[in-house]
Subunit: 239 residues, 2 copies
């Protein structure tokens, strides 16, 4: 019986192929098999053209592989291959279901290494040139999602940070804005929405909290919503 | 008169040279001049050996270049060079004083591009294999710092998120823990402290909220403090 392989949980970053880390790119090039999410692009998969590719795409509103099935696939790959990569959009440790995959692998005694990635919020801040913190104005940032798990309340309290970033915020963002208005945040608080962050079809929309409460146009791709005084456009900022 | 150069604000990531993005590494290799922080390592500066290197190191407790001086240096570099890189530890848009640099450059009509980086919190989550979110347990994360700016209150409210991450948390973390206990968080809430994240001398300490309130040993390097139920070590987790 051969030794169990090692599994690398790697953050692909926000989408653009060159926003993966050098370490992530090197390990992709050495992988025997790569299990990848729906949001990973063909350009990025070209970095691991030598590997067997397995799509385990999860994307809201579309059929996807159940998490328990993904966990089992990872275990089976580690039995068959020495170098297994699980490639996740953004960073694996933030809204990535990594806890479940780590537990499944650890239960079988399989070695795991985690390689961090650029999380979409920071790529969106870069793309819009809007720092999420600002001296004297914004010194705390919260990342959250409204996706619910079984047994969780639908609407836990919103974080009371200076800057708020809602991941997977397309449909839920209007409700977030309405709740922030009800909590007393000011109606003209700046909001920046980024769709398909860092990709060729990236779209940036600037509005206010009131505008966000009125709802977003239907987005086709993943949407990130940034809210707070730090998102105020600067006087001489280009676009 | 020659045209003004372009300035790239680039996130170096947490420290390890191969945790910079491929885009960041490429732009470093093309730079004529690089202005870098104290936390950027010599190994990373080897990626821009062709460039003029200017240290503008800022590190708490040590003498450093004032922000207004850095702003002025950036403007002067963009007048003399076509490709200027401002290399910052972690990600430039999170606790990076980017707002001030962007304003100074925009006021002179200088073009700026921002390249995101792996922020230290996510590298610490990877190094400790502790996801910051966990289905059903932790769905919001706050990043904050206690560093104060002139005119700010010393102790704004702590974010009421499931997971809290305090940057530059060495001296301030005990006070944070005491305040969280006073707010009713449970005494045995898991805490993970990471010093010199991703570097050869990385140090990981696991404790509880009560333990953190009792104070940390003196750290030599930058310290990141992660607090919350998501930081609970898994039964079969190695180290």
């Amino acid at each position: 019986m051969t030794a169990l392989g090692k599994v690398y949980l790697i953050g692909a970053g926000p989408g653009a192929v060159d926003l993966i880390t050098m370490r992530g790119a090197r390990l992709l090039g050495e992988a025997e098999v790569v299990l990848y999410d729906a949001l990973v692009t063909p350009e990025m998969l070209a970095l691991c053209a030598q590997a067997t590719l397995i799509s385990v795409g999860k994307r809201s509103g579309q059929r996807s592989t159940a998490q328990t099935v993904i966990n089992q696939q990872l275990v089976e790959c580690a039995r068959r291959y020495q170098r297994v990569v699980r490639l996740k959009g953004g960073d694996p440790m933030l809204f990535g279901r990594a806890d479940e995959e780590l537990r499944a692998l650890e239960a079988e005694g399989i070695e795991v290494e985690v390689v961090p990635g650029v999380t979409t919020a920071l790529a969106a801040a870069a793309a819009t040139k809007q720092p999420l913190t600002r001296r004297g104005i914004a010194r705390s940032v919260a990342f959250f999602t409204s996706s619910t798990a079984p047994g969780e309340p639908d609407h836990p309290a919103l974080p009371a940070t200076d800057t708020l970033v809602q991941y997977m915020g397309g449909r839920e963002a209007a409700a977030t804005a309405a709740r922030l208005l009800a909590e007393g945040r000011r109606p003209d608080l700046p909001v920046v929405v980024v769709e398909n962050c860092s990709r060729a079809d990236q779209r940036i929309v600037r509005l206010t909290l009131t505008g966000l409460a009125n709802g977003l146009d239907d987005a086709q791709g993943p949407v990130l919503v940034m809210i707070g005084e730090a998102l105020q456009q600067r006087p001489q900022q280009a676009s």
